[in-house]
Symmetry: C2
């Protein structure tokens, strides 16, 4: 049993340790919760940073205690002998800034007031999350990551790393993601937050964590969940099946299996996730546009980027469709960056990055192994710069 | 200026006038609000019934008063000299049973109690809506409609007419619709209703109409609105444009143009639509499955159908995608029914049935004209049966 102990990295007090944010505010006494698996090699060249998605956390693989029944969220992908093989790589995964699973976020105590930030937490960006992670990587004594790997919002962080810290990463694996969050996704996030903010229990974000705005958060999660599945998966998995009755109940309680499933997903989410965090993280996703600093020119955004890329999309993902991956690939190629691209045929929709482990794992495993070989033999372009 | 006067058809009191419903309950003293345009010809063969979608009403074309600034919802399609030419056809459109624009629905007074039904209104189906419409058509002295035409939920009613009253319609034009509502659509409707029902103002449906659960209804409408547009339209129309500021506001108020648009749509909807009605109508859509009576065999559902069909879908409609139209067409062809099918190339998504008037109008206009010619010359198969 792969036992993993979560760790905290505290940035420390005072102005000199403050984290500057894109919104021009600063965060003091930041903590990042992180987990590692595997061993850093002698020349510190085998570190792989995994980036989690919206509702993920630092617990990417293994178990916290021998009693744990559920392993980390990407346990099939990351571990000894897995595609991201912790016998070869030193894997790091940290809970994002703004999260609610150990890292500093809206639920944390504001050192200036001694009370939880709640909605006084500054609005953060994907670049802010990555800036905090860079501190952690520095703290771990790693000057150059072998790779940064992540799906969905994790993929956004991967791309941000390549632009903001081009000398600190050899290879990037952005999966089921985009370089510019779309209007449709902004719209879905808006509706989800409206459901949360309209819940009277939300109380401007000052709810008691023991009595959260569960209805609103559950509605937001159910909506988001629909966007993670494909029409095809939903049809195959649930179709028009009824949950309990032989025929329609002619009422408004859950009647269909798909309704029961969503209800279950919504309730489970409320037990483990913070409503304020949900608002902040979706806002960071809204604000994600790598071409923002280059006046809409996505190719220009990658002008200083180095290293190599493996871009992966899934055919039935309509949240981050393949056409967005192609736009990213085009921007990378315009900069003559070494770019591998694959659209994996899958019916699973956006969630495929968590489910198509065989296909995805083979591809990512080979890409990482090649990169490590290149880095070890000094061939890798980024390593020469 | 085409002035139209809304009319009411009251089914009348007593058991003998009650409307039997699929849920085995009955509705008493039902009223249907309807509008007509054009003149019924001598042999009563030129009547076209238009079916409205979820949020539509009987006001399909023209103006109610000379001061009206906005015409009916399909005015570009229906009127003198338009595709559905009221110089040639007698057009009828009635507000659906369960609606909130003049026909009996949750907001109506229950004759048994003297109070509004609210959530004591029986759960209705598309077949119930059509059963009520049949009474209206009988009342108008029309034994056979030239055609039934409608998009989205209107198209569901079109198909239901062809199955339940095969001798009463010569031709059907189901547009942007399906024969079996999908799991994904059931899921979206569920989330929308959850937003409404969770709104404390909803109060189990017993809200004061002057103080409705506006937050919940607005959230439901905003969500639905996303599904009516395509990702492409949203990208072209709004992209990542900001509404007012030059750069991100770093807060949770509407920042993007698409957020502002949705907010506006949500607020406008609350002014004109009833929250209980929204719940009932979406439930009717959920329950729509023409293969339900034939154990899942869609072809068998059309076994007794007659007349001819023009099935239309739109390439970017992901709410009722073309593959669902193809499944319908396949079922029609299995019964050797005269079937015309066209997928119109359009970027407008589901809303295309309200926007692609040139292409759609040309097709529907020609189809209706041919049908009228056939009926007039006695060639139409249905007319001979």
């Amino acid at each position: 049993m792969l036992l993993i102990e979560p760790q905290n990295y505290d940035f420390g007090p005072g102005e000199e340790n403050a984290l500057e944010l894109d919104c021009r505010k600063k965060l003091y006494e930041v903590t990042l919760r992180y987990e590692t698996c595997g061993k850093l090699n002698a020349d510190r060249s085998n570190a792989v940073l995994i980036e989690h998605a919206l509702s993920g956390d630092a617990h990417v693989t293994g178990y916290h205690t021998p009693e744990d029944r559920k392993p980390g969220w990407w346990a099939e992908m990351v571990g000894p002998g897995k595609a991201i093989d912790t016998d070869r790589y030193f894997v790091i995964c940290s809970n994002i800034l703004g999260g609610c699973s150990g890292s500093t976020g809206p639920r944390s105590i504001d050192p200036a007031t001694g009370k939880p930030y709640n909605m006084n937490f500054p609005v953060i960006t994907i670049a802010d999350m990555v800036r905090a992670q860079k501190r952690l990587i520095d703290h771990l004594g790693i000057s150059k990551l072998l790779a940064v790997v992540g799906g969905s919002m994790g993929g956004m962080q991967v791309l941000q790393w390549m632009i903001d810290y081009p000398d600190s990463v050899a290879a990037a694996v952005p999966i089921a993601t985009t370089a510019q969050n779309s209007a449709q996704n902004i719209a879905f996030n808006w509706v989800g937050r409206e459901a949360i903010i309209s819940d009277p229990k939300f109380d401007g974000g000052n709810y008691d964590p023991e009595n959260p705005p569960g209805k609103g958060l559950s509605t937001a999660r159910m909506l988001a969940h629909i966007t993670y599945l494909s029409d095809e998966t939903m049809g195959r998995k649930f179709g028009r099946n009824l949950q309990e009755n032989d025929h329609y109940a002619f009422d408004f309680r859950r009647d269909f299996a798909v309704e029961s499933y969503l209800q279950h997903q919504g309730r489970r989410f409320v037990e483990r996730f913070d409503a304020n965090s949900y608002c902040y993280i979706t806002r960071a996703i809204d604000y994600f546009d790598l071409a923002d600093r280059t006046n809409g020119d996505l190719a220009a955004a990658f002008h200083s980027a180095k290293g190599k890329f493996l871009v992966v999309s899934f055919s039935s993902d309509w949240l981050f469709p393949t056409k967005q991956a192609r736009a990213l690939v085009k921007a990378l190629l315009a900069n003559h960056l070494e770019t591998n691209f694959c659209e994996i045929q899958s019916g699973y929709g956006h969630d495929a990055f968590l489910l198509e482990i065989d296909t995805l794992g083979a591809m990512v495993g080979a890409f990482l192994a090649n990169t490590l070989n290149e880095v070890s033999s000094g061939k890798q372009r980024g390593a020469q710069s």
